[in-house]
């Protein structure tokens, strides 16, 4: 076998090994998307009921709560960025990070100081590499987040928002995550969690214009709101974590599918080149034999004369 042919054969072997791996990753991601989607669906009843309750208290009482009232001139904001622990998901992480940076820039233009809270190793690595300050970060659960994870993420954020701004607290809480629209579409977006905009919340649940009953609060509207809002934040963060996980798996699946397709194409091209090289080798061998034979024939014919 000629040197060139051997090189092609070796590359085909290595590309097909890669193809096998990406194919397996694609299938794993595909099965995980379904699981993650199911988890998103399972968490929906809780989230909708909670949102309804928040709207009910917010509209049904005149309670002023620090979590629903806007500060007169907000000076500090917290941004929670949800990324994944692992890459190999196309532009998934860079889109989320880009969205977070745009939001940070906008908030800073408005004269607010931004504290970054990050979930996922990718986001942490991005911020650390640029030596930016990260208020707090969590890693290790982005593939399959549980409600307990959402609680650990929410706890310092709620604490920060309840503290006075002068004492290191924040006035606003924003979240940047990747919304799972469909298997093919996931979009990074930012949302303001707190202070709460009740009209927006009502719009989300589709209960806009619906007249809510006059609730009897037990023990009191303030206490209910006090207990309700942290749960609401937790549930929103939980939902965002689940959507991010589903989006990440979908992005991985897509990235791995195109990697598999590319590997297949590369194998095709390489096999054609290898075939051409083999043909060229054979042709060359034949012409060498023919040339050698005729040279020999010429030589003998010459010596005969």
């Amino acid at each position: 076998m000629g040197a060139q042919l051997r090189v092609y054969k070796r590359r085909i072997r290595s590309v097909s090994a890669t193809k096998k791996i990406t194919k397996a990753m694609e299938m794993i991601a595909a099965s995980r998307v379904v699981k993650a989607q199911r988890k998103v669906a399972a968490s929906t009843p809780y989230a909708t009921e909670l949102t309804r309750a928040v709207t009910a208290v917010g509209t049904g009482s005149n309670t002023r709560h620090p979590l629903t009232t806007e500060a007169e001139n907000p000076t500090r904001a917290a941004v929670l960025l949800l990324t994944s622990d692992r890459g190999l998901a196309g532009a998934f992480n860079s889109n989320a990070i880009k969205a977070a940076e745009q939001l940070t820039e906008r908030l800073e233009r408005e004269g607010k100081q931004v504290d970054a809270y990050i979930v996922g190793r990718r986001g942490v690595a991005h911020y650390n590499f640029r030596e930016r300050k990260v208020a707090e970060s969590w890693t290790g659960f982005t593939d399959e987040p549980t409600y307990a994870d959402a609680k650990t993420v929410a706890a310092p954020l709620i604490e920060a928002i309840e503290k006075d701004t002068a004492a290191g607290g924040v006035d606003e809480l924003h979240i940047v995550y990747t919304e799972f629209v469909s298997m093919m579409t996931q979009s990074a977006l930012d949302a303001r969690l707190l202070p709460l905009r009740l009209d927006e919340v009502a719009e989300e649940t589709g209960s806009e214009g619906e007249i809510l009953p006059l609730y009897d609060f037990e023990p009191s509207a303030e206490d209910v709101l006090d207990a309700l809002l942290p749960r609401y934040v937790e549930s929103r963060i939980y939902n965002a974590l689940l959507q991010s996980a589903a989006s990440k798996h979908a992005a991985t699946r897509r990235a791995m599918k195109s990697a598999t397709d590319n590997a297949g194409e590369l194998i095709n091209t390489l096999s054609r080149l290898a075939n051409a090289a083999r043909q060229a080798e054979i042709t060359q061998e034949i012409s060498e034999i023919v040339g050698g034979a005729s040279a020999l024939a010429d030589a003998t014919a010459g010596s005969d004369r």
Partner: protein, 124 residues
């Protein structure tokens, strides 16, 4: 025929139980409260404790609920809890072990959780 109310018991990550009932007893921060059909709209904070649901076919469903909310309007009652378990899902022996361990470690929260579970399991 007794009037009915629709009950949804949902935990943070799943729907635990839903169906028709004639009476629901839950523990709010200001005491036990019983909700029957036609109750005034209500929104309350739940304590950890067992919730008893008397279903319209005469049966009883008991669930251990760890914190959460109860809301009632238009004859629909929602029980929202971060963690909620039906009494038949509770493994009594394991919970007893948990209770002992919590007592030994002085973990008040875990002790309360295990206690609520045991009470719910005993009430079934």
């Amino acid at each position: 025929m007794a009037a009915e109310l629709h009950v949804e018991l949902v935990a943070a990550d799943r729907q635990v139980w839903s169906g028709e009932a004639t009476l629901v007893v839950a523990r709010t921060t200001s005491g036990d409260i019983g909700v029957m059909p036609g109750h005034q709209p209500l929104l309350g904070v739940l304590e950890s404790g067992p919730v008893t649901i008397r279903t319209s076919d005469g049966g009883t469903v008991v669930a251990a609920v760890h914190g959460g909310f109860v809301s009632f309007a238009d004859n629909k009652l929602s029980l929202l809890a971060e963690i909620a378990e039906l009494s038949d899902e509770i493994d009594v022996q394991r919970t007893e072990r948990e209770l002992e361990r919590a007592k030994a470690e002085g973990d008040a929260a875990a002790e309360r959780r295990a206690d609520v579970r045991l009470r719910a399991a005993a009430a079934r």
